[in-house]
């Protein structure tokens, strides 16, 4: 019953909050990301082994990390939908899933581009890339299920259940793929486990990480705002928001 007491469960309140936060996250994201990427892609020293090709790491690593985090955030929202039935967190799933899927796709594409100079081929069944690919399938499943229902409330619940099932499976999938990889490939080049990374390379990476995090939050907020408006269309507060005045009295 206390779900009615909690102000955030009200679409209008969360819309206002998202509206207030969005500009801050957008500005910070652009700022931090441009500093981090320019530093990393232009000014950071070249790697003594990989030359300039390693620079794609400044995009690949943050995308790969946050493609995972977005899924966990989605699963947390799914839990809230199923236990406390907050509609907002259901809409959050819809808002976050495509952002996560795009991050996953970026991680895959940059991984493939990075693979060309490193392994001499665009695609290698490397554990990390394979895991990312499966993650992309998981996102695809959640999105497909969300949109497969006439009744968006059902789509939301179904997607929430699937996201939770997925998050239980994610560690198992990850472990199995790692294991499969060591079994079939022996010692392959592990890309990120450089024993120590020079501070001149580390700082731009940290900035890029922060920038990607801010950007993800900003994108999710933007999509969440849209979804709230779409779902609440016809309510007086939405008309007021869109036209400056209530539409019917």
């Amino acid at each position: 019953m206390w779900r009615w007491l909690h102000p955030l469960a009200k679409p209008e309140t969360s819309y206002r909050l998202a509206d207030k936060l969005l500009p801050w996250f957008s500005i910070l994201a652009v700022l931090v990301l441009s500093i981090g990427l320019v530093w990393g892609l232009v000014f950071a020293p070249a790697d003594y082994q990989q030359g300039d090709s390693f620079r794609i790491m400044y995009i690949h690593v943050p995308a790969a990390i946050f493609s995972m985090s977005v899924y966990f955030a989605m699963a947390a929202a799914a839990f809230i939908v199923l236990v406390w039935q907050w509609k907002i967190s259901g809409w959050f799933i819809q808002a976050a899933a495509p952002v996560g899927a795009v991050l996953t796709a970026i991680a895959l594409i940059t991984g493939a581009i990075w693979g060309k100079p490193t392994w001499g081929t665009w695609w290698v069944w490397d554990a990390r890339l394979t895991s990312e690919l499966i993650l992309l399938f998981l996102y695809a499943g959640v999105l497909a299920l969300y949109y497969a229902f006439e009744d968006s409330k059902k789509g939301m619940k179904a997607a929430a259940i699937l996201a939770l099932v997925g998050v239980v499976n994610l560690p198992i999938i990850h472990f199995s793929v790692e294991w499969w990889n060591t079994l079939h490939q022996g010692a392959s080049i592990t890309k990120f486990e450089a024993p120590s990374i020079a501070p001149s390379m580390l700082w731009p990476l940290l900035l890029a990480l922060l920038g990607f995090a801010l950007l993800s939050v900003a994108l999710v907020l933007l999509r969440l705002k849209n979804e709230i408006l779409r779902q609440e269309l016809g309510k007086p507060w939405v008309s007021k928001e869109l036209h400056g005045e209530p539409s019917n009295g």
Binding site: L138, F149, K157, V165
Partner: protein, 226 residues
Amino acid sequence: MKLSSLSLIMWVIRRDLRVANRQRSEWLNPLIFLLMVITLFPLGVGPGEQILSRIAPGIIWVAALLSGLLGLDRLLREDYEDGSLEQLVLQPVSLSMTGLGKIVAHWLLSGLPLVILAPLFGLLLSVPVSAWWVLTLSLLLGTPMISALGAIGAALTLQARRSGTLVSLILLPLLIPLLIFATSAIEAAAMGLPANGQLAIIAAMSVLALTLSPLAMAAAIRMSIR
């Protein structure tokens, strides 16, 4: 007093087997499909014993997964359409228990036949006789996981449009670990190595799936039925 949990599980299993006995093609078709897929491979890559025995574990398990997905629609669709599912929701017993009954019934009709046919698959694809035992065990321990996860998929898509491909889309990624460990177990056995580790992991995954998926399935059925 209505039926208790255990008797309700038995009731569901007994009824599902009785219905399946009247509609044999419903559960025989996926099995025939599986046999056909397995026949296609020697025709496609050539009957050479070496290639076949090399790729046999993968073929058998990929085909098992696909045929498992094929038969999933049967799991809940009929009960949903004729109203029996509503009656099961209205029992004074946790819906997860009823779901467990449905999963067991589905496994008896889709998983158990694979276990029995395992030596035949091994024979057709030149799996060394020494690995037949592990092949059979991997199917015995692994197929319950297909039924358990499949039940979630079937329950989630009861009211969805285009449910056929959708079920495969949401389930296949979740079944990848099973494929990896099962094929590796058979490969290890074919090379004369112990496969206990892989089999133990498969068993653990199946137990986990059987414990958790009835909960997700119950939530999905409640979502679908209203």
